[in-house]
């Protein structure tokens, strides 16, 4: 249970940062915290109390193991997160070149 609370705590902290901060870098950090929260949630879905890493070895017999599928998912999700983060940071650099600021309140040429 404590893992779920921690995971969704991170998710909500991330969302709060994205929604309230005006500095683009902080928003990107918020995205990353949100991502971490989701990853932690996925890991805790597959967690088995006192389970070991799901690696088969000779002679290990029957041992309690955690579910390997969510771990594979998290691996993929981390990679995707890295790609999004790298792209976001490179766009932030370009945005700073054009506007000379990272304050999102001052970047509003496109309107509905």
């Amino acid at each position: 249970m404590i893992y779920y609370i921690g995971a969704f705590g991170l998710v909500f902290i991330g969302l709060y940062i994205i929604l309230t901060k005006r500095n683009l870098i902080k928003v990107i950090i918020g995205l990353n915290i949100l991502d971490t929260g989701v990853n932690l949630f996925l890991i805790s879905v597959g967690y088995v109390r006192e389970g070991t890493a799901p690696i088969f070895s000779r002679g290990s017999g029957q041992v309690l193991m955690v579910d390997p599928v969510p771990q594979a998912l998290v691996l993929t999700s981390i990679v995707i997160g890295v790609a999004v983060l790298a792209l976001a940071l490179s766009l932030a650099i370009m945005l700073h070149k054009h506007y000379g600021t990272l304050n999102l309140q001052k970047v509003k040429e496109q309107k509905w």
Partner: protein, 490 residues
Amino acid sequence: MVSPVLLIAVPLGLAFAVPLLRLISRRIPKYIPPVAMLFNLVLSVSLMSSTLKEATVVSIGGWDPPFCINLVVDSLSILFSVLIALVGFLVSIYALDYIEMGATENTEKYHMLYLLLLVGATGVVLTGDIFNLFVFFEILCISSYALVAYLGDKAGVESGIKYLIQGAIGSSLILIAIGILYGMFGSLNIADIASNINSIGSIALFIPLALLVTGFGIEGALFPLNGWLPDAHSSAPSSVSAILSGIAIGVGIYAVARVIFTLFGVSSIFPFLAILGVLTLLVGEASAFKQNNLKRMLAYSSIGQIGLIVFGLGIATYHGISGGLFQVVSHALGKSLLFMAAGYMIYRTGSMDISALKGIGERMPLTSIAFTIGAFSLVGLPPFVGFASKFLIIQSALLKQDVLFFVLAVLVLLATVIEVAYFLRVCQIIHFKEGNNQKKEDAPLVALIPMFILVSLIIIIGIYPNLVFDFLNSAASGLLDKLAYIEGVL
């Protein structure tokens, strides 16, 4: 029979081969996307007849479903796959010249990202595994963020970062929902989850459903979630706007439909979906009406078209769904044609303002005709394809004999009137306003050919809608009949 895996594997391999082939010659990269998409088009069309009878299931890794990652190629998937390959092929031919214009650096990045976008889209429509769906969706999203900011100008970067932030939140929501579903069912296979979905109470299912619809709805541009769309579609290069408007949104809608119809199979959400669709339609058309910027107007019109598609799906009768899918087809053909024509018009006039288009009808006669036909088709004038699809949606809404759907159908017709007003205004400026006469300089041949292929498709399918009806009906019944889907896979 050729395996449908090649639909994903070949373009994916070629996409990453682009930078390598660039080392051999600078001229090769731009021919890779047309080749890959032509391959996909031929393969998808050849798979069409077999999927009409039953879905093809490809298991990867030698395990049986639900333990493996599988591709489920039913008629709905192949309908989208053909559409993606067709529009992708035509737009990539168009981009051969368009993207080189005024380019200061090499364009191989564009071609690679473009192919990756189409691979992501194809993967989303073919996969039968919900996490795989997410991964392909992310390929689609990340390459479209990068393509929106491809030019690196002020507007592009701003809309790119906006799109990225909203898209990233959306994909996190999808991932949370996947985690919850895995926790409940211990499976990631769509058919497996769908067959066990009734074992869990409906309240507990509401959270993953809401998260998935919100997450995919951001890419599919459902009404409260489409703040990124007008910026992204109007700031991107026109070839990218064409593919984003024609394909990427449609794929988002496909994902929403798959989740609602197949994965959850909830019928109580359909009136909500229909109302959401009409709301999206009205907001989109009303915003398009007051635009002075040509590409922004087209982008808002895309929002409106998406609303119409969602309305068609929300009717949830057999004819309503085939009408919605027909609208996906007519939107993909019409809107990519409009963006392609608008790309060269904007380049020739040097301005995105609608008022700058005066006299362009004399200056670029063929492009203007293509633009006009695309506009007429979207508005829904016979004999173009847009008429057939709109007619089918309105007809099935009235056949439902429900007061709610009657009112919604009236609102749809009202939105169509707004649509007529702004499209005809543009057409009037193009054809009847005298400009300062300049010499004729039409778009180059390599751009005109894909445009006129689209024009002829719009007219042919518009006159003979029966050509596609069989296929649309089969796709619609595939969406409605979730038991057949489950039995086909497991």
